[in-house]
């Protein structure tokens, strides 16, 4: 796509220069195990950033993802503690996620609420339910099956990274090779046109939010495996990281102007930055500041490129 070539630089340059900087200055940054770390640590965020890209393309956003991920994780853990089979519990987690996704979609599409408000409200609802269910406690005793799967590797590649890769492949196909993808561009770009083309735009629009919820459920699977407990507030704030990854990745909040690979770059850049600063033992306070800097610089590069 000619336009992706035009788009690549902004974030990619940043990522490249960070990698170079850390490889030169950070001991063992460029080692295989560390790169695997980065992949591991970024995988859950990627699961959220992918659907967030589609949602942003429809001129929306989903602030409830983190909370929903937390709730799904709690449900998953609770069911496992009560001795349900992993597939059952996982299905339930996906179900909860999808349910909230649909709820978001209905509020935004059918009732025409601003996405920010609707999903902020759902954030409260999901987090509240999770807290009430667990009284804020972490849900332990989920057995070894899930953590086992999370820890497993295939050809030396950790499970989480494989899932993330698979998820990207799926979304890439969905967005660029299926009708649904075409309609994602259309909903953001020219809703009227889609309707006049005889496509039930509303249904697809809700579907996009539902996919967001579904992926939050999938994220819960990884996160719970990673922590080997369910925790109601473990994922709070992840939705913002996902939003940032998507936007620094070059997806615009208007006219269905989205670019999926950019979101991957965005996620990786955030991951590389945090990891690299840790590897260089940079004080936490400066890490915080540099995240802010990253976000702004990434967009500055684009806006300057845009001008020229």
């Amino acid at each position: 796509m000619a336009r992706s070539l035009r788009r690549i630089p902004g974030i990619a340059w940043l990522l490249a220069s960070l990698v170079i900087f850390f490889s030169v200055f950070g001991t063992r940054f460029a080692s295989a195990p560390n790169l695997i770390n980065i992949g591991n640590q970024s995988s859950i965020l990627l699961l959220l950033a992918l659907p967030m890209t589609l949602i942003v393309m429809t001129e929306g956003l989903d602030l409830s993802m983190g909370a929903v991920l937390g709730l799904s994780g709690v449900v998953l853990a609770m069911l496992l503690v009560n001795g349900n089979a992993l597939p059952v519990a996982f299905a339930a987690a996906l179900g909860v996620g999808t349910l909230f996704g649909i709820a978001n979609g209905v509020l935004v599409v059918a009732l025409g609420m601003p996405p920010f408000v609707a999903t902020l409200g759902m954030l409260g609802v999901a987090q509240g339910i999770a807290l009430v269910l667990t009284d804020g406690q972490s849900v332990a005793g989920i057995g070894s099956a899930l953590p086992g799967i999370y820890a497993s590797r295939w050809l030396g590649i950790p499970f989480a990274i494989l899932i993330a890769a698979a998820a990207y492949a799926a979304f890439h196909f969905l967005l660029y090779h299926t009708r649904i993808g075409t309609y994602v561009f259309a909903i953001g770009g020219n809703r009227e046109a889609l309707i006049l083309a005889g496509v039930p735009a509303d249904r697809y629009h809700v579907l996009i939010y539902a996919i967001g919820g579904l992926m939050a459920g999938a994220g819960a699977f990884l996160l719970t495996g990673r922590m080997s407990v369910g925790h109601p507030t473990a994922a709070i704030g992840m939705e913002f990281d996902a939003m940032v990854a998507v936007i620094v990745g070059g997806t615009k909040l208007a006219r269905g102007d989205g670019w999926l690979p950019g979101s991957v770059l965005g996620v990786m850049t955030v991951g590389v930055l945090k990891n690299g600063l840790n590897v260089m033992a940079v004080p936490s306070s400066l890490q915080i500041a540099s995240i802010g800097l990253l976000v702004i610089v990434a967009l500055l590069i684009d806006s300057f490129r845009g001008k020229s």
């Binding site: 009284d135 922590m227 990891n275 936490s284 400066l286």
Partner: protein, 332 residues
């Protein structure tokens, strides 16, 4: 105390550090050799002063034993995922040993197991990790700390009156342990009535507002049992503003709490001294690397700081020195 100026210096130092990091510090594989061991210290956040005292203690001990410390603090406070990531990142740097405070005693088990797998010895301090293997746990019995502190206040009430409890973050182990301790104390004093037990998330402003609200609904409150010092001090602000009086106790013995005790505003603060946690934890880690004996478990004595005994603690942490290992560990 002009923190700002002082830190501009320290930070320019840090910045320089980043860019000179290129001449990578010699990789220190720890065990055996004496001196130059690198100890990775994990704390929960940079907002709660308690953990700052832990970090200072660790730094101080390391200096004494000429080892180096690297601090790992989540950028988002108490973030489970971030602490897990930081463990993974630390393993890459292969520190000699790790001194570890979990942000969550269960969710951090996989982290500890990762460290075990990497053969990096772990000294677990302050809050217990409920899994994985550690060379030593050095912390305090928080329930006991709250029990003693609560008892102290209730005795001052001569065993009668109305009290409220300010809980921490709902469900966090610290909060529940401490609240349990307070409730145990209350059980010993049947004539004291517990009016309400409300969460204020360890935060000053929320404690302030919760107390204000409770002051509205209860005309007579004689005692306030707060699960940490920040909340206790928030409660005191509420009392002052409402021109009401009550005995207030907190936990952690922070510098601010001690000043409040000196000023006669705070009745007491239960303490098992984060500074010592930092000191002893780090010492234990280094000792282990130097093949010196380390107790499998060490529980710090709890101290209830009040206006009779704060004097010894009333020195800025920057000037405090770690006690010698023997002086502490022998009396167990």
């Amino acid at each position: 105390m002009n923190i700002f100026i002082q830190n501009v210096r320290s930070t320019t130092a840090v910045v320089l550090m980043i860019f000179t990091a290129s001449c990578a510090k010699p990789v220190d594989e720890g065990a055996g050799q004496t001196g130059g061991e690198s100890i990775a210290v994990f704390t929960k956040n940079q907002t709660n002063p308690f953990f700052e005292t832990v970090r200072l203690g660790a730094k101080n001990a390391a200096k004494q034993m000429n080892a180096t410390v690297i601090q790992y603090i989540p950028t988002v406070q108490d973030s489970i995922t971030e602490q897990l990531s930081e463990i993974e990142d630390a393993i890459i740097k292969r520190p000699g040993a790790v001194v570890f405070i979990p942000v969550n005693s269960r969710a951090m088990i996989p982290g500890i197991e990762k460290l075990n797998a990497a053969n990096i010895p772990v000294v677990n301090i302050t809050d217990r990790v409920l899994g994985g293997s550690v060379i030593s746990f050095m912390g305090c019995d928080e329930t006991n700390m709250a029990l003693n502190t609560g008892r102290f206040l209730l005795q001052r009430l001569n065993g009668r009156g109305n009290v409220i409890i300010l809980e921490g973050v709902g469900g966090s182990e610290n909060s529940s342990n401490r609240v349990t301790g307070y409730r145990k104390a209350l059980a010993e004093f049947p004539n004291v009535k517990l009016l309400a037990s409300q969460p204020a998330n360890f935060q000053r402003v929320q404690a302030l507002q919760v107390t204000e609200n409770l002051l509205q609904s209860y005309p007579q409150i004689d005692g306030i049992l707060a699960a940490n010092d920040s909340m206790a001090l928030g409660a005191i602000e509420a009392l002052d503003a409402a021109r009401r009086n009550a005995f207030v106790v907190g936990l952690n013995g922070t510098k601010e709490a001690i000043d409040a005790i000196k000023a006669g505003k705070l009745l007491a603060s239960g303490d098992c001294d984060g500074f010592r946690h930092g000191c002893l934890g780090t010492m234990a880690a280094v000792r282990h690397l130097r093949n010196l004996p380390v107790p499998k478990e060490f529980i710090f004595s709890v101290m209830v700081i009040d206006n009779t005994n704060y004097a010894g603690l009333d020195v800025p942490y920057e000037e405090r020195m770690c006690p010698s290992w023997e002086s502490v560990v022998k009396d167990k």
